[in-house]
Symmetry: none
Subunit: 226 residues, 4 copies
DNA sequence: GATGAATGAGTGTTCATTCAT
DNA sequence: TATGAATGAACACTCATTCAT
C-alpha cells in the first residue's frame, strides 16, 4: 500500500510540503491509472488520494496528460544499468543466470507497482504516441538488450542452442509481460487468482524456457513439478 | 468471427438492410475500441464509421457500455468446439500438433481483427468486471482447456516431459497473448514493425517451447535459425 | 430589448430550430458581451438568454472565442456599399450631406445595438488582435473612406476649407465614436442620461463641425442653440 | 499622477521600501489593466511586474477589485484645481486658451499613461458602477466644468458663437476621448500608427473646432494643412 | 512584513443519451 | 425506422484568495 504513508496528522489542513508533493501525487496517480486506466481516473481522485486539493495537483503538473507522462517516466526506475552490471559479473551457469534475472525482475518490477506501468503502456499506447516512443526507447530497448546479452552469453559458452536472437528475446520477455498483464487485468477481476502462484509460475516458465517440452531421451528425468 | 462475415452479396449493391446494421456497428466499434480504448472512443465516431447516425446506434444498443459488451460477446470466436474436434482426431506427433494449433490460431485469430478483443479485454478488464468474467468463462477457460488437452496428449504419449499442467498452459499461451498485445499497442506506434515477422516469431516460439534453450548434448544440432 | 422575441411557448422543451439558433445565440451574446464585456459574460448566460442549454451553444460555435468573433462579424452589416451609393448621388450641399450622413448613421448604427460592437472592439481589441485587424479592415477603413469622400466633395465644390484629410476624417468620426462609447459605458451607469438627448447632441456636433466655435464677423448670427 | 512620482533618490540603490510598494503595485496594475482589461489581468502578473509575491499584493489591497478601484482613484489627476487657476488668469484670446488647454492636457494626460485609465473606465464602467460614479464625480464633472468655463469665456468675450453649452462641451471632449481610446485599443493593434501623429491630430482638431469646415467667404484663407 | 504553497468555487468544454420529427 | 438537434451531468483546468511559515 504505497500511497501517502500516513503523515502524522499534525495540522488538519494546509500543510506545506513542497518537496514531497510531486512524489505523493505521482504515487497516487500510479495507483489510480493502473487500477482504472487513464480516462477513468479523475484528477480530483488523484489529488484526494494524495491528500491535497485539485488545485495543488495543477501546481505541480500542468495537465492530466503531463501527470500521466510523469508517472510513466518516474516509474521507470532505470534499474537497467545496475542489472547490466550485476549480470556482467555473474559467475554461474547461464541457466542460473536466467533464473536469477527472472527472480530479480520479479522482486523489483513484476511484484511491485512498477508492473502496472507496463499494463498502462500497453493499454494506452495508442493514445500517447509520444510517450510510447519514449517508453520504447527508454525501457523496451534496454530491456531487450539485457536479455539479448544473457542469451548471447549462453550461446557463446555453449550452454544454449544457437537460436535466432531477434525472436528468442521474446521467448524470455513474453512470460514476464504475460504475468504483468494478467495480474493487472483478468487476474484482478477473476477469483481464480487463488490458485495462481506467481513464483511457481515464474519457476515453471524458466524451466520450460530452458528445457522445452520435449522429452530428452538421455537426460535425467526432470524434477517433479512443484 | 470478427466483423460481418461477408454476407452473401445477394442484392446488387447498396442494399445493406437493417439486418446488417448491428453487425456494421459492432464492426466499427471493435476497430475503434481496439485502437483507442473504451473511453477515448466516441459513439459519434462509431456511428459515423458504420455509416449511420448517432441516434441509430442507440436504437440497437441501449448504451455505450452495452455496445462494448456486445462487441466482446460477438467478437468471440465460437470456434473452440470445431478446434477441439480437429485436434481430437489429429494424427501426427504432439509437437506437430502444437505447431498446427499455433498456425491455426494465427490464421483465424492472431492475424485477424479478432486479436483486437484480447487487447481490449486486457486493457479494460478492470472497468468491466462483469464482461471480463464472461470473457474468462467463454474464451479463456475453453482456450486453456484446449491447450491443456494438447499438453496432456504429449505427456501421455511420452513425447512431452511431465510438467505442471497448471503453469505449462501459460507457456503456450504467453507467446500468443504477447503477440496480440504487441501488435495492437507498442507495435502500432513504433516503426520497428519493419523487421518483425509474426510467422517467424511464432515458429521461433514453438521451437523454443519444444526444445528449450539448453543444448542437448546428444541431440542433433538444431536447425540454423531463420 | 432585442433577444429572443418570446416565441410562443408551445413545447416547454426540446424545440428544434436549427435555422434560427445561431441568430438567437448571436443576438443574446451581443447583448451580454456589450453589457458586461467578454470575460464577464458566461456562456451559460448566453445560452440561457437564447433559451437553449449550454451544450447547444457549443453545437453552433466551437468556443466562446469563436462566438465572440461571430458576434462581431455578424453585426457588421456591410452597409457601407449602400451608403456609398446614396452619398454618391446626393444632390444638396455638402453640409446637408454631412448632416444626412450623421442622421443615417444614427438611425442604423448609433441608436441600435450595432453601436455596442464598437464599444466591444475598443474595449477588447488588445485581447483579440486577429479580430481587431479584421474590424479595422472591414469597418474602420471603409468607414473612413466614406467620410473622406464627403469631405473631398465639400472641398472640391468650394464649400469646405482645404483641410488635411488625414486628420479631418477624425473630426467627423470622433463625435460618433464618443457617443457610442458614452452610451455603453458611463452613460449606462450614471443617471445623468436624463438630460442627454442624442439627437440634440448630434445636431450640435454637426453645427460645430461646420461652423466652428469662432464667431464670423460678417456671417449672419448663428441659430439659437436648441 | 500616474506612477510613482519619482521619489527623491535618497538611498543609493535598491532601497525601495515598503512605502513604495503600493505605488509600484498600482503602477504595474495600471499598465496591465489598460493593456488587457480587468478580467484578463492576473494578480500574479501584477505582483510579478511589481517585483513582489502574490501574497504581498493582498497585504496592501484586500482584493483584486479594490486594487482596481485604487488604480482608478490614484491615477486620477488631481490637477483640475491647478488648471482651473491657470486658466482663470489666462490673458490671451480664448482660441489660444483652448489651444493651450489641449496642449497642456496632451502633455500631462493624453500622452502619458494616465490616458490609460480613461480607456479602462470606458471599458469596465458597466462592471464597476460604484467606481464609475466616483470617476464621473471626480474626473468627468470637473473636467467638463473646466471646458465649460473656457467656452463661456469665449462667448462672454464675444469670441465664440453662442452655442448650447451642454453639448458644446462634448465637441471639445470628444477629440480627446477619441485619441486616448484609439491609442489604447485599435491603435495598439494595427500598425497604421506609423502615419498617425498625435500632435498634428490635436492641432487639426483644434483648428476645426474653432473654424469649422465651412469656408468663410471673407476671412483670410486658412493656414495650409500640415 | 513577506512569501508562496495550498485551496476550491467557478468556467469552458465534452459527450453519452434523449426525443420530436 | 432513422435522424440529428438538444440536453445536462461530468470533467479538466484557472485563479483570486488564504494562511502557515
Amino acid at each position: 500500500m504505497p500511497a501517502t504513508p500516513t503523515p502524522p496528522p499534525a495540522s488538519p489542513k494546509r500543510e506545506r510540503r513542497k518537496e514531497a508533493r510531486p512524489g505523493e501525487l505521482l504515487d497516487a496517480a500510479l495507483d489510480l491509472f493502473v487500477e482504472k486506466g487513464y480516462a477513468a481516473t479523475k484528477v480530483d481522485e488523484v489529488a484526494a488520494r494524495a491528500g491535497v486539493s485539485k488545485g495543488t495537483l495543477f501546481l505541480y503538473f500542468p495537465s492530466k496528460e503531463e501527470l500521466f507522462k510523469a508517472v510513466v517516466r518516474e516509474s521507470i526506475v532505470g534499474r537497467f544499468g545496475e542489472w547490466s552490471q550485476e549480470l556482467a559479473q555473474f559467475q554461474g551457469s547461464t541457466a542460473d543466470m536466467l533464473r536469477y534475472a527472472y527472480t530479480t525482475w520479479w522482486e523489483s518490477i513484476g511484484s511491485t507497482r512498477a508492473s502496472g506501468i507496463t499494463k498502462l503502456m500497453l493499454s494506452e499506447a495508442g493514445n500517447f504516441p509520444e510517450i510510447t516512443q519514449f517508453y520504447q526507447r527508454e525501457v523496451i530497448e534496454p530491456g531487450q538488450q539485457l536479455i539479448r546479452r544473457v542469451l548471447l552469453r549462453g550461446v557463446e559458452r555453449g550452454e544454449f542452442r544457437t537460436v535466432n536472437m531477434d525472436y528468442a528475446v521474446y521467448a524470455v520477455l513474453a512470460p514476464m509481460i504475460f504475468l504483468m498483464l494478467w495480474k493487472h487485468s483478468i487476474g484482478a477481476c477473476v477469483p481464480d487468482a487463488l490458485a495462481f502462484d506467481p513464483e511457481a509460475y515464474i519457476s515453471s516458465q524458466v524451466d520450460n524456457l530452458l528445457h522445452g517440452l520435449l522429452v530428452r531421451p538421455d537426460s535425467p528425468p526432470p524434477p517433479p513439478p512443484v
